[in-house]
């Protein structure tokens, strides 16, 4: 009886200590973010495709929307646009020959103030040079908030949103593209389910590709469908990813990939086995253990 009493007390102390350890909050030097005010800048439309002639003047506008809770000032300006990687990481500084559209841009007004809930239409003009080369020219139009003063040590933030302009100057230009490869690994050990395609543009003008992935289970039911229309810039290879972010951790799927661009259509299909990395190891151990057990049993019966 005494032992039981002691055992219960030890258990109670252990549970209490565990709870205290879980609930204890470590002290560290950090500052909480003030979440009472939201500074938000929205730009629409986020891109523009256009065809024009050398020497022409093209007008347009973009909407800047303040759907936050703070008023702010913003400026508009243009910068070069190109990409640095196949995943199309943007580059707003390198002045490549076809990233020169920013030089054509003219804003009537570059400084604005906007209140919460307000929308401002920002007009711009593209003055296409007389000697603009036929083919693609690219740039980005930015709307950037002005930094706010902060009262203590810390980091002040500016935010900017960009409208990418894809312009084609009429004349003799080349459109040329090729499928580099479909990417669809059979055995994938983690979500998302990876499905992608690499498309090359060897011409001097951009084109849009239409890509899709459809994943079906072993019963033929469609479990995932993705469609996109990525743009492929001249002189680049674009990796168009079609990930299934919410795929289950385990499953066997029949996946069909399709890509269409210019006058080409390409398709690929295959099975994808989604399992954790430990699954084949465990399966192998079970098989070996089962086989060894069967051999031992046979020997036993013979004897």
């Amino acid at each position: 009886m005494l032992r039981n009493l002691l055992s219960q007390n030890v258990t109670a102390v252990f549970v209490l200590a565990t709870l205290l350890g879980v609930l204890a909050v470590p002290v560290s030097a950090f500052a909480q973010e003030d979440t009472s005010e939201v500074e938000k800048i929205t730009l629409s439309p986020s891109s523009r495709d256009l065809k024009t002639d050398a020497g022409a003047t093209v007008t347009g506008s973009m909407k800047i929307i303040n759907n936050g809770t703070m008023a702010y000032d913003f400026t508009v300006y243009a910068r070069p646009y190109s990409v640095s990687t196949e995943a199309y990481g943007p580059n707003f500084t390198d002045q490549k020959p076809n990233a020169d559209l920013y030089k054509w841009v003219q804003f009537q007004q570059t400084e604005y103030s906007i209140e919460p809930g307000q929308t401002i239409e920002v007009p711009y003009t593209l003055n296409v040079p007389e000697n603009a080369a036929p083919g693609g020219h690219y740039g980005v139009l930015f709307a950037e908030t002005k930094e706010r003063e902060i009262s203590g040590t810390g980091v002040a933030r500016q935010k900017r949103v960009g409208k990418i302009v894809y312009a084609t100057v009429n004349g003799e230009y080349q459109t040329n593209g090729a499928l580099k490869e479909f990417i669809l690994p059979f055995w994938q050990t983690d979500t998302p389910l990876e499905s992608s395609v690499r498309i090359e543009n060897s011409g001097n003008v951009d084109f849009r590709a239409s890509v899709s992935t459809v994943a079906k289970d072993v019963f033929g039911r469609t479990k995932f469908k993705y469609t996109g229309d990525p743009i492929v810039l001249p002189g680049t290879v674009r990796l168009a990813e079609m990930k299934w972010e919410t795929a289950p951790n385990f499953g066997l799927y029949n996946v069909q990939q399709t890509v269409t661009f210019l006058d080409q259509k390409h398709q690929n299909s295959g099975y994808v086995l989604l399992t954790p990395i430990w699954f084949p190891i465990v399966l192998g151990i079970i098989i070996v253990a089962g086989g060894a057990h069967a051999v031992l049993q046979r020997r036993k019966h013979r004897n």
Binding site: A31, V38, E39, I65, I150, G152, V155, G162, M242
Partner: protein
């Protein structure tokens, strides 16, 4: 006689019916149908937001003490090909204060983040590059060119990226306010 009366009554009834039918308004119910196509144009849009300020309070000691602040950056985009969120500094990457010296940018990079040495500052985003997840010990400099901190391949609805900033200061740094300005950029792909 009765039969005659009945015949007359029947004829009268028929006559009334015919006259009534003739005098009743004729409703011309010829129906015409037409179809209208309703088109809705949904424009593309992209937005970026953050809340409040990123203030860092730190009490230094001789060996250096670390203070951190976290920024929650939200992006909305209805472009099905996704968006890119970048972070950059201006040409001066140090945190400037009331006097020289300053809090210099860490030598760590996205490819090789490092622990902060005394009187340096940097940023980290969990699971970005080689930062790893959950740890708070390695940081990279906010450089003068755009560094990608988030890249997606689908539409985004209030998608958050947590950016943590940290400073390490020792007693050789004068007290006061030290600040730097960074820029977040969101563009579609």
């Amino acid at each position: 006689m009765i039969l005659l009366k009945k015949q007359v009554a029947a004829k009268l009834l028929i006559g009334v019916a015919v006259v009534g039918g003739a005098l009743s308004p004729v409703i011309a119910s010829a129906q015409a149908t037409d179809t209208t196509t309703v088109n809705a144009t949904v424009n593309s849009a992209i937005s970026v937001s953050s809340t409040g300020t990123v203030a860092i309070s730190v009490t230094p000691d001789a060996d250096g003490a670390i203070g951190t602040g976290t920024d929650t950056v939200e992006v909305d985009s209805n472009d099905v090909d996704g968006y890119t969120l970048t972070l950059k500094n201006d040409a001066d990457t140090a945190m400037n204060g009331p006097d020289v010296p300053v809090i210099a940018a860490t030598t760590g990079t996205l490819a090789e983040p490092t622990a902060l040495t005394a009187n340096t500052w940097g940023f980290r985003v969990d699971n970005l590059g080689t930062f790893g997840s959950g740890g708070t010990s390695t940081y990279a400099a906010v450089g003068a060119t755009d560094t990608e901190i988030r890249s997606t391949t689908a539409t985004a609805n209030a998608e958050q990226t947590l950016v943590q900033y940290a400073v390490n200061v020792d007693l050789s740094l004068p007290d006061g306010l030290y600040t730097d300005t960074v820029t977040y950029t969101a563009t579609v792909k």
